[in-house]
Symmetry: C2
Amino acid sequence: MSEYTLHCFAESGNAYKAALMLELTGQDWQPVFVDFFNGQTREQAWRDEVNEQGEVPVLEHAGQTLTQSALILDYLAQRTGQFAARNEDEKREIWRWMLFDNHKFTSYYAALRFLFCLKNTGETDVTHFLRERAKAAYSVVDAHLEKTPFMVGGRVTIADLSLAGYVYMPEDTGIELENYPHIQAWKARIKALPGWKHPYELMPKALPVSR
Amino acid sequence: MSEYTLHCFAESGNAYKAALMLELTGQDWQPVFVDFFNGQTREQAWRDEVNEQGEVPVLEHAGQTLTQSALILDYLAQRTGQFAARNEDEKREIWRWMLFDNHKFTSYYAALRFLFCLKNTGETDVTHFLRERAKAAYSVVDAHLEKTPFMVGGRVTIADLSLAGYVYMPEDTGIELENYPHIQAWKARIKALPGWKHPYELMPKALPVSR
């Protein structure tokens, strides 16, 4: 039995945020597969027993159950001392970007990818809407990364690991990534970290999508 | 000059979260109108000087500039000691719901209201998509509020003030609110707090929409 248990599946970039943090900080952890695409997170029993919010990731550790990727990242940063804020100002700045990530950067991209790439809806008014919102969020982050190599404090923090949730997913969402050169360079810097792994290597796959 | 300055406009439920907190805790504060609908938050100068994320609310206090409603709520709870967590477990639970709010509960509802009620797009595939997502988030919160009068700890906290951002907005988004009776009862409980005010009373209006 590992010290940490992460309820997850490989296609979830939100789960990847937690999985990558566990891996990069060298924790003893194991994934528990959640069968999202067959409706497991919508089942009443799963909601009652695992997460009433109906979402992954869920982290179990030392008798505690934690949900919400940003909160899990904050918990692990506090416990391990790695990728953590050095002071109150940095802490606020990290949370500011993790909130922007949850509200816009990850959120619109993940919804777009789900419809366009995993459910294969083709281009619709909805995918167009989501892509425009995702591009607006990408522009904000790209403008920030023009000024600094990582989101906060000039080094990798959990703010970067949060925003990085979906950026290595292989599917083509129709966003022209070359329009965001500072995000592309930042992705390469994170990928170069010792121990970095792709989401599809870290967690069990739910769908037979090729990399 | 008031102690707190809040960059906001009345139609923004995200700004309302901060405004209501300032009001309920009895702070000396003043609103600064942001002309969102004429593109002020998209102007480069506003992004450079006020908020690179291009969003309201922005709170100025004691030489500091804070953005992201959840972070502003947390800051004010720490400073005033009101609507705050009593311990680490409550703090995590509050953040868990504020994150759910930013990602889903406020997020989909606000986008739906913006298109359907303020931009008057009429019913489209996009408003249908957003409404279904908003309804799913409403169901999660309604199920939680079936078990407890407020989101965390049996009393009002900043988790409630976060989730309450858009729930008093007068526009009809096409969601049948009577399907969420526990949310309706919770709204009435918050509205009964001494000093409660409607968003359109607390902040300057941007649009000539009637209440």
